[in-house]
């Protein structure tokens, strides 16, 4: 049998994974090893595979993914910090046949936008909220987030998060799962190929539930921040598995009855 060379492997017909047609050629501003790029790619693939481009309106947050609209080829609105679910509410109410999603970080969704998050979920708006939880403010340079773990060091908790004075990390997926308006709440990760496949599966379920207008879908992605955590990408993924996953366990918190 002939030996398989590197050049054989990279032939287009041999590629198992390709860039989604909906990913633009713009150079990403994300740090090496960051989960955002992977999450974007998975989302773009699902929009492409589900043929949703012409009816998708995305809402971007303030935070690292503020410039997400540069990377995925769909219509986008850029919201003020924390307000994405309010924009999404109006978009969906005014154009009920659209697929509407928000993509938000932990500061955006769980601190400044807590009210919008909870009330949008409570009204059961037929939108998908994608929540990237990396336990830190990445864009502004590594400050403490509402989801920063107890004892975790950040630029504004340099001695570690002291829960007696800084409060405990907030588990947003658990909170919104309690609200009758949400139909699907799940926690995923994108640090392994298996994780990405599961995340995509969750996105596809959310698309189905959105098509069926069953209420708000909420997908949390527990992710890393190598720059903010001051680790290499490999170290950050290991640290995330050892520290973030036990506190924010992966899996479904709420699934609709069939």
């Amino acid at each position: 049998m002939a030996e398989i060379t590197f050049n054989d492997i990279i032939k287009p017909e041999n590629l198992a994974y390709t860039k989604s047609k909906l990913m633009t050629d713009n150079v990403m501003h994300y740090c090496p090893g960051c989960g955002h790029g992977t999450a974007h790619q998975a989302l773009a693939e699902v929009i492409e595979e589900e043929n949703l481009q012409s009816r998708t309106v995305g809402i971007t947050p303030v935070g690292c993914s503020v410039l997400m609209y540069n990377y995925i080829d769909v219509d986008f609105q850029e919201a003020a910090h924390g307000r994405a679910p309010a924009l999404a509410t109006a978009v969906k109410r005014l154009m009920p046949d659209k697929f509407v999603f928000t993509y938000q970080g932990d500061g955006d969704l769980a601190a400044i936008g807590t009210a919008e998050t909870i009330h949008t979920c409570n009204r059961g708006e037929n939108i998908l909220i994608i929540f990237i939880n990396n336990g830190i403010y990445g864009m502004t340079g590594g400050q403490m987030a509402p989801t920063t773990l107890p004892g975790m060091k950040s630029a504004t908790s340099p001695y570690g998060r002291d829960v007696s004075v800084m409060g405990s990390p907030i588990k947003m997926a658990d909170i919104v799962a309690m609200l009758p308006g949400t139909c699907y709440v799940t926690r995923q990760s994108v640090n392994t190929a298996g994780g990405v496949r599961k995340f995509k599966k969750a996105l596809k379920k959310a698309v189905q539930y959105q098509n069926e207008k069953r209420g708000t879908c909420f997908i949390e992605v527990v992710s890393n921040c190598p720059s903010g955590w001051k680790m290499t990408p490999v170290e950050s993924n290991k640290w995330m598995e050892e520290n973030m996953f036990p506190f924010y366990p992966l899996g479904d918190l709420k699934v609709p009855a069939e």
Partner: protein
Amino acid sequence: MEKELKLMKGNEAIAEAAIRAGADGYFGYPITPQSEILEYLMEANPQATTGMVVLQAESEVAAINMVYGGAACGKKVMTSSSSPGISLKQEGITYIAGAELPCLIVNVVRGGPGLGTIQPAQSDYFQATKGGGHGDYHLLVLAPSSVQEMADFVELGFDLAFKYRNPVMILSDGAIGQMMEKVWLNPQKKRSEEILPWATTGKPASRPRNIITSLDLDSERQEKFNLKLIAKYREMEEKEVRFEEFMTEDAEYLFVAYGTSARLCQKALQLARAEGIKAGLLRPITLFPFPKKRLNELADRVKGMLAVEMSAGQMVEDVMLSVNGKTRVSHYGRMGGMIPTPEEVVENLKSFIKG
């Protein structure tokens, strides 16, 4: 279809006019003295007739951001509130101005600062006309002085908002919001089904994706954008100045007043004339753009101008800038929900004349 005559509160007229203007959505939060707008719309339930969406938001902040989302889809959307609530909306308003989106915002002003009072005032003039939120921007501001104008300015406001892709504010007050007058209402307009080329409605194959944002990290491009906004405001100053004059032909002294103050100045004008004082009134209808040119012209032939406002003196600064030292300018105002009587306005005009 003919116009319809009704007896209504100013707030109700706004709500009914919004339905009839073919508005696509209203997003609000209760606050006195304008809660009738949301109440009226909820009872009218236009979703069942015209398809207009009416939603009570969890806060004024959420309501204005719903307006942002709806406006970004090219929809005819609006919100309303009163002073403390309008302060909360300022974040959303500056984003809407920065993203160049059309929308209508109604402020039924009450006295401040802080919670202040629920009684009428005109103390939000600076906030309304000078931007209100952060950054260099302006709203186009319409000041109704009757229930009829509350209704008329809804449709006018939407038209101007879409013409300039800029937020428009109706700056009213608790008196006009609460009082009842007869009002001629326009026949029902159909909601527009037009898909605007810049709107985020889902990207078809025929166009590049639409992005609605107020962000540009490149300073040179951002400055160009700021210059574009300024050009838009200059165009408004050229084309959209609206005002009304009363007995200015032979006036020696001019009241300058808008909204409720303009109404009581009309009475003050008659009282002054009866005493032999040749008084006139200029009522700005647009507060931005302000009738600078006309005031400057009138400054050549009057002996003085008295700005009458229910505030500590805000519009008077624009009057002074307009006349640029050509004539004497002073201010008379009451605050905290107090409305001056025509008699006390005349007394103040007399002491102004004495100097």
